[in-house]
């Protein structure tokens, strides 16, 4: 279409350029709209739901594993040194601490990686008082 226009009317060069610019502007606007739309919905709902379920499953076991490993280490050291229940108690508590630390750490990682959608630009919250 543009080619035909060009051939038929040679003299109105300014108007031709004008129309091309207009069309470019329109196209640019459409592109910006499409980009905005895509940015607004970065993940489809089922996909986001699946990712959230994956994260939940991850956190749940991490907490339990800490206590289990702590308890096992304590039990093994108890057997080694013959200090019956004491080391196991100590390491159970340490294991619980390790489990909680694991959960907090991976939750922080997830938060840093994926800010909640639709709440403006990603904000980096440094909420530990160091």
């Amino acid at each position: 279409m543009a080619g035909a226009d060009n051939k038929s009317g040679r003299e109105p060069k300014g108007r031709d350029a004008e129309s091309i610019r207009q069309r470019l502007d329109k196209l640019g606007q459409q592109l910006a709209d499409a980009k905005e739309k895509r940015a607004a919905a970065p993940q489809s709902v089922p996909e986001a739901r699946g990712a959230a379920l994956g994260k939940a499953l991850r956190l749940a076991t991490e907490l339990v594993a800490g206590v289990a490993v702590g308890g096992f280490i304590g039990w093994a050291l108890d057997r080694l040194f013959g200090l019956a229940p004491f080391l196991m108690v100590v390491f159970l508590i340490l294991g619980a601490a390790a489990g909680i630390m694991n959960v907090v750490r991976s939750a922080k990682e997830m938060q840093a990686k994926a800010p909640p959608a639709g709440k403006g630009p990603p904000e980096v919250v440094d909420d530990d008082d160091d």
């Binding site: 699946g50 379920l53 994956g54 499953l57 991850r58 749940a60 076991t61 991490e62 339990v64 594993a65 800490g66 289990a68 490993v69 702590g70 280490i73 390491f91 340490l94 294991g95 601490a97 390790a98 489990g99 630390m101 694991n102 750490r105 990682e109 160091d130």
Partner: protein, 261 residues
């Protein structure tokens, strides 16, 4: 008719006497080819058979899908390319560009666990990943490998990984112990998550499947409807667990390569 039903029930672990079939029967290991190596039981079991099937499926799938290497991919080829891109992006996002060296391993691992989980969803099949010894072996291999990579890459400096920064000296011994325990939880949480999800899901399916049969034509519809929905969820879980397993491998690799929390 009744005899056949009873025989079928016995085959699926019914204790007899009209009780429901045992939901744990499906996890039983059966020896197909008994074999003993150096005092260890290395028999070819149903578990081993399904691992071989999974390996064969993955190899055939990838080789067949990429046989043409067309610029415009066919349907199979685009599935293979999608799975490649999916894992490649996962590795790049979580372990960085230098983590791509380990892409073949992560891809193999992801496909293996995924196909094993999905094979488990086929009726009458065996779910290899519902045995903790299998998942723990995988997790322990990853754990040892990642630790070795850390020590090879950073030498003795890798021990700094266990020393948190900016902590008063008094607290340091305690925190180092906690850090070491938290590092040691990795293989356990990795293996328990996969095994527990698969075993719990398949037990639930079996229990509700038994309800359908037990309640019969009159009352069996409610558990049947639940089963349909739950089967869908189980397929999602089968995929998600493979995904989580692979993504955690990438995260652990990242820790070993770049050494920061």
């Amino acid at each position: 008719m009744i005899e056949a039903y009873a025989a079928g029930g016995a085959e699926h672990g019914a204790a007899g006497g009209g009780s429901l079939p045992n939901p744990m029967h499906q996890f039983e290991i059966k020896r197909f080819i008994p074999l003993e190596l150096f005092g260890f039981d290395a028999s070819f079991t149903n578990s081993a058979l399904f691992m071989v099937i999974a390996g064969t499926i993955i190899t055939l799938f990838t080789v067949y899908a990429m046989r043409n290497r067309a610029l415009v991919p066919s349907r199979v080829q685009s599935v293979a390319e999608l799975s490649y891109e999916f894992v490649a992006n996962m590795v790049r996002d979580n372990a960085g560009t230098d983590g791509m060296k380990y892409f073949p391993f992560v891809f193999t691992l992801f496909m293996f666990v995924l196909v094993l989980n999905m094979l488990g969803m086929v009726p009458y099949s065996f779910t290899v990943t519902s045995h903790i010894i299998v998942t723990f072996a995988l997790a322990a291999f990853i754990f040892l490998g990642v630790t070795l990579i850390g020590f090879i890459k950073h030498g003795a400096k890798f021990l700094k990984f266990f020393v948190p920064e900016g902590v008063p000296l008094v607290m340091l011994p305690l925190l180092v112990v906690i850090e070491v325990i938290s590092y040691l939880t990795r293989p356990l949480s990795l293996s328990v998550r996969l095994f527990a999800n698969m075993m719990a899901g398949h037990t639930m399916l079996k229990v509700f499947g038994a309800f359908v049969v037990a309640l019969g034509l009159l009352g069996g519809w409610a558990p049947l409807a639940f089963m349909v929905a739950f089967t869908g969820l189980e397929i999602l879980v089968a995929f998600l667990q493979a995904y989580v397993f692979a993504i955690l491998t990438c995260i652990y690799l990242n820790d070993a390569l770049h050494m920061h929390h």
